[in-house]
Symmetry: C2
Amino acid sequence: MAPTPKKYGMVLYEGFQLLDVAGPLDVLNLLSTHVDGISLSLVAETLQPQSTSPKCFPENMGMKPFATSQVLIPDHTFETAPQFDVLIIPGGMGCFDPNDAGKPNLTILNPVIQFILKQYPKLQYLLTVCTGSGITSLTGLLDGKKATGYKGAWKVIPPWRPQVSWVPSARWVVDGNIWTSSGVSSGIDLVFAFVEATYGGKIAQDIAVWMEYNRHLDPNVDPFGIQEN
Amino acid sequence: MAPTPKKYGMVLYEGFQLLDVAGPLDVLNLLSTHVDGISLSLVAETLQPQSTSPKCFPENMGMKPFATSQVLIPDHTFETAPQFDVLIIPGGMGCFDPNDAGKPNLTILNPVIQFILKQYPKLQYLLTVCTGSGITSLTGLLDGKKATGYKGAWKVIPPWRPQVSWVPSARWVVDGNIWTSSGVSSGIDLVFAFVEATYGGKIAQDIAVWMEYNRHLDPNVDPFGIQEN
């Protein structure tokens, strides 16, 4: 039986979505008060502060660019990061091509894709939030697996990798050791479910009460799900 | 009629709770794509990166210190910050005295208290999340007003300022131009309700759908409320 996972890595890139990252991180900060030895690193292509606002905002997404943004500071680069037990891939507007939001921004995503492929063979679990599953699908690791993702870009992202069995209505999906969530705030529910499955229901519930968070408990109930015919 | 608020300030201090800050910030980042001219600044005593983990963790809180943490970087100090329209005060473990968690950590909080008092006369709105209402109560601005706060410290914080009419069961409370929320994740619901009241229900709902967030819509329904006899 594999040891309980301890070493968490969260990927950052220009244009990550703040809550995709901060929701799971805060649950894991609390986990570190319950389970000894938890570590948590932010990893990006460089050690430069990474902004929530992409340098070039996708033009044809039907929304105006963010006028406000925040930065988080990576602890490691993709080159220098240690091997993690659990890697988390957040979503964000940075994953879309600024000139054609129907396409992935491979300038931003290729280093992320290579890092996922480098880490995956020794990962215990790979978790994605929102469009993070779209990014991860480009590695091929989701081929033939069930996965979900951001419902606001459902017409855009699944075509990036039709070999994935995309689930149009699910708060989150588990297939093997890969957990994928729906959009933004659903990443919090995914991480709570992961903590429950991995460290026990009492710890997950204690953290939820501490954070006064009303969990979505059923992965199949998706208030934002797409009804396909 | 006062103009629609545009200039937001979020206070940081050592030991702020990540989701108290990041939840509201991400809603406001999205607001900035709907409403022109929104600005959003992080403000602290100094321009040093502010950590989610307090330098001295309160000893008698019945929990172990965080083993993991993140930092956010202030844009302004309390001295140099411009006048805001809306000021947000987050909660966090940093507000408790490391040697006696029953007491406020005035070394950390006095500069915050002075900043609230400096800003309040020209603020349109003052918003608090979690133990942020406890901090704000120390200014005296909540005296005679209804307010709520973090239910996990309900025996500790209301005695800091008995002149406040503390509400033991509410997801959030509005009294005059001061909005106070319950613990951690309830700050997201408070900000959505504030956006709805201030910019209209359609914008609030559009942002909630974009973030796939299931809002708590009734401030009086508090899943973590305290039943007092």
